[in-house]
C-alpha cells in the first residue's frame, strides 16, 4: 500500500526497520512524514500510496494521506507535557468550533482501549509514566484513523508491562489491516514484531528478510557499514 523508493509496505503488515545509530532510520520516517526541516529540502523521495504518487511537503499532508508518526523522543516531539490528557489526545482531530462532548468521548474511548492509567482526563501528561505517555501519543494518532502507522523506537523507556501491551496493540492493528512500520534498535523486538525486516546502513537499505528467515546474526551483518 505504501512504496517509498525500494521500500514497500503491504496492508496489514508489520515492517521492521533495523539499523545501528546513525543509519538514517529516523530520518527516513521523518522524510516520509514531511517533517524534515524546510520545504525546499523535501521530496527527494518517490512516495506512492495504494499506487498513487503523492506529494508530502508537511506533516499535515502526511496526515491527510493517512500516515501517522509516533516519534522517537515523545517528550520533545510527541507530547504537550503541561497540557492534560484530553488536550493531548484530541489535538490531531479538533473541529473549528470545539465539540466538548465529542472530545470527552474520544478521550474516554482511548483511555479504556489502551488502558491508560490516569486519575482523570484533566491530569497533566507530564506527571504520567513513560508507558502511559507513549499510549497517549498512540491514542492521538489512532484518533486520525491512519492507514499507515510509523513507530520510531516505540518501547524506549517503558516498563515491561506497558511494552507487552504495546506489542499486542501493534499486532492487533496489523490484523485489522493497518500497515505498520516499526523502527527499533532492539533486535529481539524487531524479530518478535515484524512480518518482514529491512536493514539500513549509511542511509541506505542494505538487505531485506522475511521474518522467518532472519536471525540476529544475519541482520547484524548487514547493519554494519561496509568500508
Amino acid at each position: 500500500m505504501l512504496s517509498v523508493g525500494s521500500l514497500k509496505l503491504h496492508k496489514g503488515e508489520v515492517l521492521g526497520v533495523f539499523g545501528l545509530m546513525g543509519a538514517g532510520r529516523t530520518e527516513l520516517l521523518e522524510e516520509i512524514f514531511g517533517a524534515e526541516g524546510d520545504e525546499t529540502s523535501l521530496q527527494r523521495l518517490d512516495i506512492q500510496i495504494e499506487g498513487k504518487t503523492i506529494q508530502i511537503r508537511s506533516p499535515l499532508d502526511a496526515i491527510r494521506a493517512g500516515i501517522a508518526l509516533v516519534p522517537e523522543d515523545r517528550k520533545k516531539d510527541g507530547l504537550f507535557l503541561d497540557a492534560d490528557v484530553k488536550e493531548n489526545i484530541c489535538i490531531t482531530t479538533l473541529d473549528n468550533i470545539l465539540n466538548e462532548s465529542k472530545r470527552v468521548a474520544l478521550t474516554d474511548r482511548y483511555i479504556n482501549d489502551l488502558k491508560i492509567k490516569t486519575s482523570s482526563q484533566q491530569q497533566s501528561v507530564g506527571t504520567l509514566s513513560g508507558g502511559n505517555q507513549q499510549k497517549i501519543v498512540l491514542a492521538k494518532w489512532l484518533a486520525t484513523n491512519p492507514k499507515i502507522l510509523m513507530l520510531d523506537e516505540p518501547t524506549r523507556g517503558i516498563d515491561i508491562h506497558a511494552k507487552s501491551e504495546i506489542y499486542e496493540l501493534i499486532s492487533k492493528l496489523a490484523k485489522e489491516g493497518m500497515g505498520i512500520i516499526v523502527v527499533s534498535s532492539e533486535l529481539p523486538e524487531i524479530l518478535a514484531l515484524s512480518d518482514r525486516i529491512v536493514v539500513m546502513a549509511d542511509h541506505k537499505i542494505t538487505a531485506e528478510f522475511e521474518a522467518s528467515q532472519a536471525t540476529e546474526g544475519t541482520i547484524l551483518k548487514e547493519a554494519i557499514p561496509k568500508s
Partner: protein, 308 residues
C-alpha cells in the same frame, strides 16, 4: 484576585475619593486601552513569542486615523482628494495595524527572526513612520463623532469599556472554544510536537501577530479619540505595561500557559495601582518603583504557587 481586593481595601482606607462611581469608571476607561493591547499580547506570549511593537503601532494607527479624518488623502499631481468618514478611518487604522502584524508574523516565520528582534525593529519603524506622517506635531480637532469612541457613554457604561469588554469576550471564546485557541496553546507548549501533530505553525503565528497588530490599532483609536488628538509620542512604553499585565495575570513568558481572564485582572491591578498612587499624591518617581515591585511580587507568588 485576592491581591486586587487587598489593594482596593488599602487604597480606599487611605483615600475617600477611591471608592466612588466616578473614579471607578475613570479607572475602567483608563485601563481599556491597556486591556485591548494586552489581549493581543497574551495570545502572542501564549504562542511562545513577544510583541514589543504594540506601543508604536498604536501611535502610528492613531496618527493615521487622525490624519485621514482631518485631512483625507490629497494627491495634488493627480488632482485627487479622498475624504474619510469616521467609519472609514476606523477601518483604515485597524487594517494598517493588522498589516503591520502580518509583517511581524512573516518576518518571524519566513526568515526565522526571533520575535523579540523582529518586533523591536517594528517598534522603531512604526515610531519613525508616525513621526514622518505627523511631522512630529500632534494632530488635533477630530470632531464630536470620533471623540464619542473614547469619551462617550452607552447604556450607562463608557464606550471604551464596552469595546474592550467585547474584545475580551471574543478572545476568551477563541482561546477556550475554538481550534485556533487550542493550537495557540499547543504551539507555545511544544512547537516541535505541534508541527508533528499536523498544525500549520507558521500560519497560526502570523494570525496571532495580526490579531496583536489589529488590537494595538484599536488601542490607538481609543487613545486618539479620548485626547481628541494623535500625539506622535503616544503609546511609548505601553508594550511594557502590557507585558506587565500579562505576567501579573499568570501567563508564563515561556509560552503554552495563561489566560485572557488573568491578563484582564493584571491590567486592572496595574490600573488601580496607578490610580491609587495618584489619589494618594505619591510622586511619579515612586509610582514607577512601586509598579516594578508589584510585578516582581506577582511573579514570585505565582512561582511559589506552581511549586506547591
Amino acid at each position: 484576585m485576592i491581591a486586587l481586593i487587598i489593594l482596593c481595601v488599602i487604597i480606599s482606607l487611605l483615600s475617600d475619593k477611591f471608592l466612588t462611581a466616578t473614579n471607578a469608571w475613570n479607572v475602567m476607561r483608563q485601563i481599556s486601552v491597556n486591556v485591548c493591547i494586552s489581549v493581543g499580547m497574551t495570545l502572542v506570549i501564549i504562542a511562545g513569542g513577544i510583541d514589543l511593537s504594540v506601543g508604536s503601532v498604536l501611535a502610528l494607527c492613531g496618527a493615521v486615523a487622525a490624519g485621514l479624518l482631518k485631512n483625507g488623502i490629497e494627491i495634488p499631481s493627480a488632482n485627487l482628494y479622498v475624504g474619510f468618514t469616521v467609519l472609514g478611518t476606523i477601518v483604515s487604522a485597524l487594517l494598517i495595524g493588522s498589516i503591520l502584524g502580518v509583517f511581524n508574523g512573516l518576518v518571524i516565520t519566513r526568515f526565522k527572526v526571533p520575535s523579540f528582534v523582529a518586533t523591536l525593529a517594528m517598534l522603531t519603524i512604526a515610531r519613525g513612520l508616525t513621526m514622518l506622517w505627523t511631522g512630529g506635531f500632534p494632530v488635533s480637532g477630530l470632531g464630536e463623532t470620533f471623540a464619542w469612541i473614547g469619551t462617550g457613554w452607552f447604556i450607562g457604561i463608557p464606550v471604551p469599556v464596552w469595546i474592550s469588554s467585547i474584545i475580551v469576550a471574543i478572545a476568551i471564546l477563541i482561546m477556550q472554544k475554538t481550534k485556533l485557541g487550542r493550537y495557540i496553546y499547543a504551539i507555545g507548549g511544544n512547537e516541535s510536537a505541534a508541527t508533528l501533530s499536523g498544525i500549520d505553525v507558521k500560519k497560526i503565528k502570523v494570525i496571532v501577530y495580526t490579531i496583536a497588530g489589529g488590537l494595538a490599532a484599536a488601542g490607538g483609536l481609543l487613545v486618539t479619540s479620548r485626547l481628541d488628538a494623535a500625539q506622535p509620542n503616544a503609546g511609548t512604553g505601553y508594550e511594557l505595561d502590557s507585558i506587565a499585565a500579562v505576567v501579573i495575570g499568570g501567563t508564563s513568558l515561556t509560552g503554552g500557559k495563561g489566560s485572557i481572564g488573568g491578563t484582564v485582572l493584571g491590567a486592572i491591578i496595574i490600573g488601580v495601582l496607578n490610580n491609587g498612587l495618584v489619589l494618594l499624591n505619591v510622586s511619579p518617581f515612586w509610582q514607577q518603583v512601586l509598579k516594578g515591585a508589584v510585578i516582581l511580587a506577582a511573579v514570585i507568588i505565582d512561582k511559589a504557587k506552581v511549586k506547591n
